[in-house]
């Protein structure tokens, strides 16, 4: 169950990162912004944020 939640967090974080990269490539390319989005730290921070918010024990309604 925790593994499923962790995987969902990873998928969400990747989807958000890819969408931000898309927007960056389509719009004005701000200096350094694309590099930041491509970094290991960026995706890890999003994964952490999602796990922090959605880990089942912190949101019991998702356990059903």
């Amino acid at each position: 169950m925790l593994s499923r939640n962790f995987l969902a967090a990873i998928r969400d974080a990747v989807a958000e990162t890819n969408a931000a990269i898309d927007a960056e490539l389509a719009g004005d390319n701000r200096p350094g912004q694309l590099q930041a989005l491509l970094s290991a730290d960026h995706v890890a921070s999003l994964v952490w944020a999602r796990i922090f918010v959605t880990t089942p024990p912190t949101k019991p309604s998702t356990w059903a």
């Binding site: 925790l2 499923r4 990873i10 998928r11 694309l34 290991a40 995706v43 921070s45 356990w63 059903a64």
Partner: protein, 484 residues
Amino acid sequence: MGAHLRHDPANETLDLGLIGSAMRGRYPGLVTMYRPVESIYDDPLLLIDVSKPVRAFFRAGTVNAGGMLFGTDKIIHFINVGRIYHIRYLDAVSKGLRVHEAKMHAVQATAANPLLSEDGFLGLFTTGIRSNGDLAADYAGLKFYRNLSEPVSIGNALLPPMLQREGPYRRVVVQEEDTVFTRFVSAHWNEVLNPNTYLAYVGRRVRIVIGSRCDDVADWFRDGRGQPLDATWFTTWQRQLSTFHGEPYGHELPAEHPVSVADICPAPAQAAAVARTDTPLWWGAALPPRQADRLGRNALWWAAAAGRTDDLELLAARGAVLDEPDIDGETPLHAAVRPGHVRMARLLLSMGADANRATRQGQSPLLLAVAGGHVELTGLLLQAGADPNLQDRFDRTALQEAAQRGDMVLVALLLDHGADATLASRHGTDALQVARRAGHGDLLDTLRASAPVVRKLGTAGGQAVAVSIPGAPPGVDPQALPQR
């Protein structure tokens, strides 16, 4: 309360979720978390930690994940301190440090932090405890976050990155839904196996409490024959867990008389008896035939687990119940099948044991036999009438287990006895998909060829609804079955 829960993943909140009605409904009859009435740390901590009187009501419970027992506080360490380690690791890498140097930097920099360190405000300073298990969970968290973008090793296993680069984008390639977290869990998190260090007076109190619980330890930790494990076994674990598969993670333990089970608990009485008399005793030998122990296991159950066929016949003659399940719903037949005792399983079946009885997790003896790779037992159970299409609580089938193992013999055996390759688990994966994901391409043709002509979709108006599957073998008329 909802907002509070979503933004406060402390282990107190985590524990509330584990014992909540949703969890109890999802796993009826199962213990989702164990929390003793008296905490081992209550007395010493009440002296120095002002939060303890409140927190005493919300202590970290013990859970089982990936076969490992650990406190729920380890999950919080894994998620949060693991990420702090990761930030420091990346910072060190960006400054040119090599991977092993950067890992050490992350461990040491956090250890030097007066707030976060196990020696600091949230550790030894307020609680009197320096937890090696917490440090191991922190380090495992670092492995998890690193593994998003780079390969990491866990012992001899090299885990490929969970994400792959495709041009400027990332793609999630990790597929093992059930192991994304649990493959990072290890025995290091279990504080019985990986004991802590304590401030002197806290340690004295904990030593007394551990001493009063040696019988419980003997109950929980047993060898393959059901014998309580001795101090040597615990000492060996202590030594092994002092590093994370050879990598330092900040572990410290006094060389002389650590506050540990190995140092405190005497050798179990029954193990000592074996040494004295050289008599092959087995756990449960002293139980009357109709009496069960705290795990709900009677003497016959233990005889089955130990593969002692002579004792089984004797106990059955004295009236022991053949299919009496333990608290997990495992019968003596499950107990015999799990370690692969063919003679014992044959004897139980000949005496009338139920080949299709499921555990509380819904696992049939056949599912256990296949999961363990026991070909002869699998054949024996199928001949005895075991249903190859029984599904456990997660809707997994024996065929899916065989596909996961990549075992062509087991797959063929199950298919010969009518296993349905189209049955899917709760995650929506059937045996074909399991084999494909596990990289067992040699199984795919066999499984495809075995797909039945029709797949039941449910019922409508009391009549079965079915559809034909393209590529069905000739000679079968889907029209003969009720159609939607």
